[in-house]
Each structure stands twice: as structure tokens, then as C-alpha cells.
């Protein structure tokens, strides 16, 4: 998490200004219509662009900041606060593994180890084929079905070794 300055993960800045797509602008402007001032929709705008691009690059961040009439630095302060705004590339699907207390009691540490074995990734990492990124997440509010995880927008409950094999066996991740 501490290698944000590494050129291997964050593309070097260039002078080419990325612009927002018409669809992104339409989505953001629809939010602005409900807001008292443009920068009030900062989080919505980040989510809209992330929905289109998968993550929020430095270039995307600057384009959003220009559209909201705020500084890129201020917007980055907001973007990096929220764990579900991705400032680094993620795979096609993000695996959100709950590691809060009820899932810990029911063995989420073992699930994490098995995911690492199956997909070859630890927390914060993405498979070589770019299909999955594994992240920990705060209690998902399904503790009666612990342990749980999400793959993309889908919640999986009462997860065990067999569930993980079914979910990820043909993924061929690894590096």
C-alpha cells in the first residue's frame, strides 16, 4: 500500500490531458443538478468515472477536478480517503473478503489463504490475467451467514472451501 510513488504502479504524468467522456459528463452533471455547488458531487463523480474506467488514474482525477472546479490535490485527498475509490488499477472483478469479527470467528483467515493458493494473490494484489483483485472489507452485514465475501456486486454467504473452488477454479490466475 505504500508504493504509491512507484512508477511501476502509477503511470508517469504526461502532458496529454485526458478528458471525460460524454456519458461520464452526463452522469456527473445529473448529480450536480441536485447539489448546491459543483465540488459537492466529488464522491459521486469519482464513482461514475470509476464505473466507466475501472479505476481512477491521475489523468482521470485531474479531468474530474477540472470539471468540478476544484484542485486535483483536494480531490485526491477525498479519493484516497475512501477505500472503494481505486487509485490503482484493479482486476475485472474485485473480491471483497470480509475479515470483521463474525467472519473471523467462522474462519475467514483460512478462506484468505485458500484464495491466495487458488489465485496466487494476496490482499491488495491482482491476478496476472487481470481478472481479480483481492481486498479486505468491513463487515458486510450478513453475519448470520458468515463467512461471506463479495465478487463484483454479488454476495456469497456461508463460504467454504468448496464455494471458493466453484468460484475461482477455472480462473487460471497466478503470475
Amino acid at each position: 500500500m505504500s508504493d504509491r510513488n512507484s512508477s511501476a504502479t502509477i503511470p508517469l504524468l504526461d502532458d496529454t490531458e485526458t478528458t471525460l467522456s460524454a456519458a461520464e459528463i452526463a452522469g456527473i452533471d445529473a448529480e450536480i443538478a441536485h447539489a448546491p455547488y459543483r465540488s459537492a458531487v466529488a464522491i459521486d463523480a469519482l464513482k461514475i468515472v470509476q464505473a466507466h474506467r475501472g479505476w481512477v488514474s491521475d489523468e482521470s482525477l485531474r479531468a474530474i477536478a477540472r470539471h468540478l472546479h476544484m484542485s486535483a490535490a483536494e480531490l485526491d485527498g477525498i479519493a484516497t480517503f475512501y477505500n472503494l475509490i481505486f487509485r490503482r488499477p484493479v482486476g475485472e472483478k474485485v473480491i471483497l473478503l470480509c475479515n470483521s469479527i463474525s467472519c473471523w470467528i467462522k474462519g475467514c483467515e483460512g478462506l484468505q489463504q485458500q484464495i491466495t493458493q487458488q489465485l496466487g494473490i494476496g490482499l491488495g494484489e491482482t491476478t496476472g490475467d487481470n481478472r481479480y483483485t483481492l481486498l479486505p472489507v468491513t463487515c458486510l452485514g450478513a453475519c448470520d451467514k458468515a463467512p461471506v465475501l463479495m465478487v463484483g456486486e454479488d454476495l456469497h454467504e456461508d463460504v467454504d472451501a468448496q464455494t471458493l473452488r466453484q468460484l475461482f477454479d477455472n480462473s487460471g490466475g497466478g503470475a
Binding site: D44, I78, I101, K106
Partner: protein, 432 residues
């Protein structure tokens, strides 16, 4: 005798959502019609005050009193806001998801009645990002309500207008703190704010704002329609109404049930949750989520209400219990919680930003056999200084200290065994 359970009457066994037609056919939107145009906002407020409804998000503050601080009758011209806190993230808490996914119209009706009472003209549902299904259902339900004239201009032909929208969040537990939630809704980092001014006077964009939990708001129209006396009669003890109680951990049937408030803990754990799973014994439990103090088997016969649990040295919190069994390490249990709170600190104030990772590190050392006898004093000092309300900017860090301080009280010998033995006694041959 069957129980009168207003909040879950539309919850189906398969947890499929109740749509508009089914909701209205089962008496839905009668509370709305009883309130708007029939009762003055001040009359609605009096009913809620008389009902003794207390906030279901964890703090238990009386809802009517909270609302009574909102300036009324043109005392603060301009927008007023009602916000539903659907940012359910307290570890071990899984009750609002049930209400959101199974009966979205119930929340919307409660919100319209609440907004009318405080004369808010804009309402938001602040929902955590991961609740995709609930957000979609709520957006659909809101659209139906606009079509039916239950939202928008001149609701039911009255002079009352209300706009409602869903805001899907972008993560972080601290957003559940009401002033942090307001910061986040304004598009900022979710740092909590100093109080006063209180949100009722200066909240969202500096305007009067009420933030209430999902379960709290789901009660409002039932109370307005059926009366304060009815609501009071639902409770078994001094508290009023019903409560969504949950049990998770090593019990036979983990789950969430609406029961009369004040139901004995033993009944919830042994009857509804089916008792401990085979091969496990009860050692303790957090009564209401990850930031409440442990209670032990000696507390099983207490009534699950705000006052009783408070007198026992804990808090009812969200009402969703987390069970500590005899094969799970209490040190590991508290360490998991402390790492959670350390991760979720907003970083604004030093005791929380630096203190919680320090506590987590000490617990990690003890858990992995690197603990020293003086670590017990260090933990006790952290509880004293970080746990005191007023030493930190908000209640996150004091909440984080609650399970730790009570674990030091009830499970002290487990900590000491880790330190003297240089290893976790639960890891070898234990359940984990």
C-alpha cells in the same frame, strides 16, 4: 399469542422484496395518510416524543427529543434535511440490510413521515456502497412514490413538498458517525465535526439536519398511525417498541429477529438462535456490535434493553450480539476488532490515529507469543486515556476500547497465559 411485530410483517421467508402493491395492500402508506394534511407537524412530534422511541443505530438517543431541536415555523428559512443512515458497518451488525432489502417502502414511508414532522424538504438515504441490491430497490421504490404523489410537490394534495434520493457511499466505517456522514454527503473526506453546533441546527451544508438510523425511521409511520400508547405497550420493560435482535458466531441458528424490546438475552440466544453449536460453550458476548463491552453467561437473564444493559456495564448498541465461544481466543477476538478500528480511524485526531494501531500492535504481540508482562499495564493505560470520552474527536476510539477493557476484566487469565506461555493456547489443537 402471536407477537405484534410491525417492522418485519412484510419480511418473507425467502427474503424477496415486498413491492408497492403488496406493501399498500398490507396497510402500507396508511401512516403517511394519517399524518400529512391530517396532523400538524407539532402533533406528529408530540406522538413520537410520547412514544419513547429511542434511536436504533446504537446510541439510543430519544428520537423525539433529537427532532425537537430542529428550528420550526420559519425560524430558519431555507432547506432542511432528513438523512437516513443506511451505512450499516458496525462489526457483527446485520439488521438494517434485512429492512432495506425486504421492505424498502416501509423505510420510505417512515422517512416521509419523519421529514414532514421536522418539515424537511429534502431527504437522503445514505447507503453503504456494498448494498447494491438495497440501493436498487430503494431507487425503484422512490420512483414509484413520485408517480403516486407520495413524494414530490404537494404530497397528497397538501402544501407539503419533499424530494428524496439515494446516495451510494464509497466505503469507510466512520461514515456511520452522523457528522462524518454529513461531511461525506457534502463530497468531502468523512471527518467527524465538532459539536456544537449540532446538526439539528447546522448540519448538511450548514442547514438544519436530522440523521436517523434505518430501523428508527421504519418505526415512525407505525407510531403515528397506531399511537404512542400502542408503541409503549410493545416493550417488555421500560423501553418501548420492538427491536431487531441478532446473534452471530458459533450458535446453532445465527439470525436476526424482531422481538419485543426487553426480551431476555437467554431467550434470544437459546431459543431464537438455538443455543451454542455442538461442541462449543458460551464464554461471553458483545451485546450490540463490535464497540460494546463484553458480557458473560452470568448476564444471560438480563433484559435486552438500553437501561438494563447499561447498568451491567455495556451498551445495547445495535442489538446484534457476537458470541465468544470457548474455542475462540479472546485475545485474537479483541485483536481482530482493534485492527478493524485502527484501519477505520479517520486519522483526524492523534489519540485515535496513533493510539489504536499501538493497541493493535500490543495485542498482536501478545497473540503471537511476543507479549511481556508490562503489556498488561500498557493496555490498561490505553483503555484509560483513549477510552475516555472527550480525549478524542469522536466516539470511534472510545468504542474501540470497550471490548478491550471488558476483555481485560473478564478474560484476564487468557491474556496472562499468552504472555507466560509465549504462545496462543487456542492455536494448537483448538478450533482455529
Amino acid at each position: 399469542m402471536s407477537l405484534d411485530l410491525p417492522l418485519t410483517r412484510n419480511v418473507r421467508p425467502d427474503r424477496s422484496p415486498t413491492g408497492f402493491a403488496a406493501y399498500e395492500a398490507n396497510g402500507g402508506y396508511r401512516g403517511l395518510k394519517a399524518a400529512i394534511g391530517k396532523l400538524a407537524p407539532a402533533e406528529c412530534l408530540q406522538i413520537i416524543k410520547d412514544s419513547n422511541l429511542r434511536g436504533r443505530g446504537g446510541a439510543g438517543f430519544p428520537t423525539g427529543m433529537k427532532w425537537s431541536f430542529v428550528p420550526m415555523d420559519g425560524a430558519s428559512p431555507g432547506h432542511k434535511y432528513l438523512i437516513c443512515n443506511a451505512d450499516e458497518m458496525e462489526p457483527g451488525t446485520f439488521k438494517d440490510r434485512l429492512l432495506l432489502e425486504c421492505d424498502p417502502h416501509q423505510l420510505i414511508e417512515g422517512m416521509i413521515c419523519a421529514a414532514y414532522t421536522i418539515q424537511a424538504d429534502v431527504a437522503y438515504i445514505f447507503i453503504r456502497a456494498e448494498y447494491h441490491k438495497a440501493a436498487k430497490l430503494l431507487r425503484e421504490a422512490i420512483a414509484v412514490c413520485y408517480d403516486k404523489g407520495y413524494l414530490g410537490s404537494a404530497i397528497l394534495g397538501s402544501g407539503y413538498n419533499l424530494e428524496m434520493q439515494v446516495h451510494s457511499s464509497a466505503g469507510r466505517y466512520i461514515c456511520g458517525e452522523e457528522t462524518a456522514l454529513i461531511s461525506s454527503l457534502e463530497g468531502k473526506r468523512a471527518n467527524p465535526r465538532a459539536k456544537p453546533p449540532f446538526p439539528q441546527v447546522s448540519g448538511l451544508w450548514g442547514r438544519p439536519t436530522i440523521v436517523n438510523n434505518v430501523e428508527t425511521l421504519c418505526n415512525i409511520h407505525h407510531i403515528i398511525e397506531r399511537g404512542a400508547d400502542w408503541f409503549q405497550s410493545l416493550g417488555l420493560t421500560e423501553d418501548a417498541g420492538t427491536k431487531l435482535y441478532g446473534v452471530s458466531g458459533r450458535v446453532k441458528k445465527p439470525g436476526c429477529w424482531e422481538l419485543p424490546i426487553g426480551t431476555p438475552i437467554r431467550e434470544i440466544i437459546e431459543e431464537y438462535a438455538g443455543g451454542m453449536a455442538d461442541g462449543y460453550q458460551l464464554r461471553g458476548f458483545l451485546p450490540g456490535g463490535g464497540s460494546t463491552d463484553f458480557l458473560t453467561p452470568e448476564h444471560l437473564d438480563l433484559a435486552m434493553d438500553y437501561g438494563t444493559i447499561g447498568k451491567a456495564g455495556s451498551r445495547m448498541g445495535t442489538g446484534t450480539m457476537i458470541i465468544l465461544d470457548d474455542r475462540t481466543c479472546p485475545v485474537g477476538f479483541v485483536k481482530n476488532l482493534m485492527e478493524f478500528f485502527a484501519r477505520e480511524s479517520c486519522g483526524f485526531c492523534t489519540p485515535c490515529r496513533d493510539g489504536l494501531p499501538w493497541s493493535a500492535q500490543v495485542l498482536d504481540d501478545i497473540e503471537h507469543g511476543r507479549g511481556r508482562p508490562e503489556d498488561m499495564d500498557t493496555l490498561a493505560r490505553q483503555v484509560t486515556f483513549i477510552g475516555a470520552i472527550g480525549n478524542t474527536h469522536c466516539a470511534l476510539a472510545p468504542g474501540a476500547m470497550e471490548p478491550l477493557q471488558s476483555a481485560l476484566k473478564y478474560f484476564r487469565e487468557d491474556f496472562e497465559r499468552h504472555i507466560s506461555g509465549g504462545a496462543c493456547p487456542f492455536r494448537d489443537g483448538g478450533a482455529r
